[in-house]
């Protein structure tokens, strides 16, 4: 990094000018013991739950256990220089992180400090990491879609702005891939994205950053990273920090999408902190408040109405609603969704995308299990055209699943059953989609329309993907007006249906695949 000397002296000049000394009273205590990132502090009898405590050398901690004669605090960051007898000061503030558009395109740690070597972040606004979620009065129902660009998600488990949709599955089933595709697809939509990486390898985080950069999606994204080498306390607070950054956009009447990757590791970090603080362990050794840990976080993802936005911005923004959509990720062990944390998060969220390793290994990627995946509120937010055309696909897949067991008796089946099986196989094939290649609404609609109208029926199963690809290319070069019209209006009517039909007929006679 190069240092500009004039810049430095200017900063010093400004600092000297606004130099200001306060003689304030504060509460003080002494460190009794430090171990594993936990400090027991004697004194500070007036400390608040969750208050920031200042240790020597500008190290901060968070008061978590308030006991009769002592306070148990987690130290955020390195704790090797802290020893018994050190002075601890109360700051009277809850932990805060910088928020604002200045953070977009940056990689920060749980405290909002940059870790991407791109200089300081001059964000004037800060926000406490723990905030109460919007109440009933401030909320508005979810009725606008978040397009993930994935056919299987947008057609079968639609996500609305302000919704919480869980992505759940075993390791190596493509959970992060679904989330990253959703972020990439927000490129020109104005939806700001926050990707919170908890307990991941630093190399995985670097890879995500590089992929987002490659697809020009980093400029609308904030990455909050608490990697596996960070302390458990940093991993525990990372989602709350990310949420505070997302709430900033929600509260000024914009739309934001936040991905928590993943909350299982955050629960592990919290379990570690809790056990070290000697809180009694419960089921799977998690503390008693692990449900509240996730519910208070996910409840902050919401859509708020125009009045609330106007109130929060002191009347500067009028007539706009704000939203924060959450895509929490949970990793299951051997497909066990009835473990403690998965059941908790399933019950908190408004639906789940269930990914299965069997499907993944069979080459169906994204490996979404259409039967177990649901979206409880997304239907109201789905675009009209996808809602209309997606219904047929859902039905075909449901029927296929029922009949799939009979597929080995193919020769003994009647024509109607055979036809359903054929259709199901082709729809399953059609739901496959490569990573980092999100589709526009019009392209998706064209694929779904083709499936419903039986255009795939005479295509060999292994040719379905090339057929679809060729069809999209053909439509893009020869019928661009139709795609533009669909993307613009998002509506489905006889006119659109007739035009799509003629496009597909045209492709069948003139196209090559």
């Amino acid at each position: 990094m190069t240092i500009n000397p004039t810049e430095i002296s200017d900063i010093i000049k400004a600092k000297i000018k606004e130099y200001d000394i306060k003689s304030t009273a504060h509460n003080e205590g002494t460190v009794v013991s430090v171990s594993d990132g936990i400090a027991i502090v004697y004194g500070i009898t007036d400390a608040l739950q969750g208050e920031m405590l200042e240790f020597p050398n500008k190290t901060f901690g968070m008061a978590l256990n308030l006991e009769r004669d002592s306070v148990g605090a987690v130290i955020l960051g390195d704790y090797k220089h802290i020893s018994e007898g050190d002075i601890v000061k109360c700051t009277g503030r809850i932990l805060e992180v910088p928020v604002g558009p200045e953070l977009l395109g940056r990689v920060v740690n749980s405290l909002g400090e940059p870790i991407d070597n791109n200089g300081v972040i001059n964000a004037p606004a800060t926000s406490p990491i723990e905030k109460i979620a919007p109440g009933v009065i401030e909320r508005k129902s979810v009725d606008q879609p978040v397009q993930t660009g994935l056919k299987s998600v947008d057609a079968m488990v639609p996500i609305g702005r302000g919704q919480r949709e869980l992505i759940i599955g075993d390791r190596q089933t493509g959970k992060t891939a679904v989330a990253i595709d959703a972020i990439i697809n927000q490129k020109d939509t104005g939806v700001k994205c926050i990707y919170v990486a908890i307990g991941q390898k630093a190399s995985s985080v670097a890879q995500v950053v590089r992929k987002l950069e490659e697809h020009d999606a980093l400029k609308h994204t904030i990455i909050v990273a608490a990697t596996a080498s960070d302390s458990a306390a940093m991993q525990y607070i990372a989602p709350y920090s990310g949420c505070a950054m997302g709430e900033y956009f929600r509260d000024i009447g914009e739309d934001a999408l936040i991905v928590y990757d993943d909350l299982t590791k955050q629960a592990w970090a919290y379990r570690q902190v809790s056990l070290l603080l000697k809180r009694p362990p419960g089921r799977e050794a998690y503390p008693g408040d692990v449900f509240y840990l996730h519910s208070r976080l996910l409840e902050r993802s919401a859509r708020i109405n125009e009045d609330a936005v106007s109130d929060l911005t002191n009347g500067k923004v009028k007539g706009k609603t704000g939203s924060l959509t959450a895509l929490p990720v949970i990793e299951t062990q051997a497909g066990d969704v009835s473990a403690f944390v998965p059941t908790n998060v399933i019950s908190i969220t408004d639906g789940q995308i269930f990914l299965e390793s069997d499907l993944f290994n069979a080459g169906i990627r994204p490996a979404i299990n259409a039967g177990l995946s649901v979206s409880r509120v997304g239907g109201a937010a789905q675009t009209k055209i996808i809602k209309k055309l997606g219904g047929g696909v859902r039905l075909a897949l449901a029927q296929y699943r029922e009949l799939a067991a009979f597929s080995q008796f193919a020769s003994d089946l009647d024509d109607a059953t055979k036809k359903q099986l054929d259709r199901g196989q082709r729809v399953t094939e059609l739901m496959k989609q490569n990573q980092y290649s999100p589709l526009s609404v019009a392209e998706m609609a064209l694929s779904l329309f083709a499936a419903n109208e039986g255009y795939f029926d005479d295509v060999e199963i292994n040719k379905v993907m090339p057929f679809e690809k060729a069809m999209h290319e053909f439509a893009r070069s020869n019928h661009k007006d139709l795609l533009d019209m669909i993307n613009e209006s998002l509506d489905y009517n006889d006119d659109v249906s007739a035009k799509m039909k003629s496009t597909l007929d045209d492709f069948k006679t003139n196209g090559v695949w």
């Binding site: 000297i16 504060h26 003080e28 007036d46 500008k58 006991e67 009769r68 004669d69 000061k89």
Partner: protein, 178 residues
């Protein structure tokens, strides 16, 4: 350390209530102070911890340090502590007793840190100021700390009012760090 206070609190409170009933607060206060000093001594600690020496002998030894060694309550108190294996918490018990005593007498102990010795008129001004602030009698404990350079640092319980030059320099240092 913090746990020790939690364990010692009931003993300190009980001792104070007993002293208050019998109106012998000062006597208990000095006894506890002596015992607190005695029990931190290495040799005494070894004697108490020695399994060969009976509890009766230990209590006799501890009582011998007291001014009024034949006081029944003091004797029983020491025995109780030995029974419950809390005898090494006498320092904390004494602290809690002193806290309760100053609370009872409406006395506020103020720890003043300065770089140089304060004059008597300066101390009187401080006493007047804090009398108004805390609405109680003031007792000042003065310590000299040359690191402060100049100014004054006042500590009341956990609350610290730092008006020293050292603190000002620290603040400037932090503001100038980019």
């Amino acid at each position: 350390m913090s746990d020790n206070y939690t364990y010692s609190r009931p003993y300190g409170e009980a001792a104070f209530k007993l002293a208050l009933e019998d109106n012998v607060i000062e006597q208990w206060s000095s006894n506890l102070k002596i015992l607190a000093q005695v029990t931190v001594d290495k040799d005494i600690k070894a004697v108490i911890a020695d399994p060969k020496i009976s509890q009766a002998e230990c209590s006799k030894l501890l009582c011998s340090f007291l001014d009024n060694s034949d006081d029944k309550n003091s004797f029983n108190f020491i025995n109780l502590l030995l029974d419950n294996k809390r005898v090494f918490y006498l320092k904390e018990i004494s602290d809690i007793f002193e806290d309760m005593k100053s609370n009872h007498n409406n006395v506020c102990i103020i720890k003043v840190e300065t770089s140089r010795e304060l004059g008597s008129d300066q101390i009187n001004t401080l006493i007047e100021l804090f009398k108004k602030k805390y609405n109680s009698e003031i007792e000042i404990e003065q310590t000299i700390n040359e690191d402060l350079l100049a100014g004054i640092k006042v500590k009341v319980n956990d609350e610290v009012i730092d008006l020293s030059l050292q603190n000002r320099f620290n603040q400037i240092k932090q503001q100038l760090i980019i």
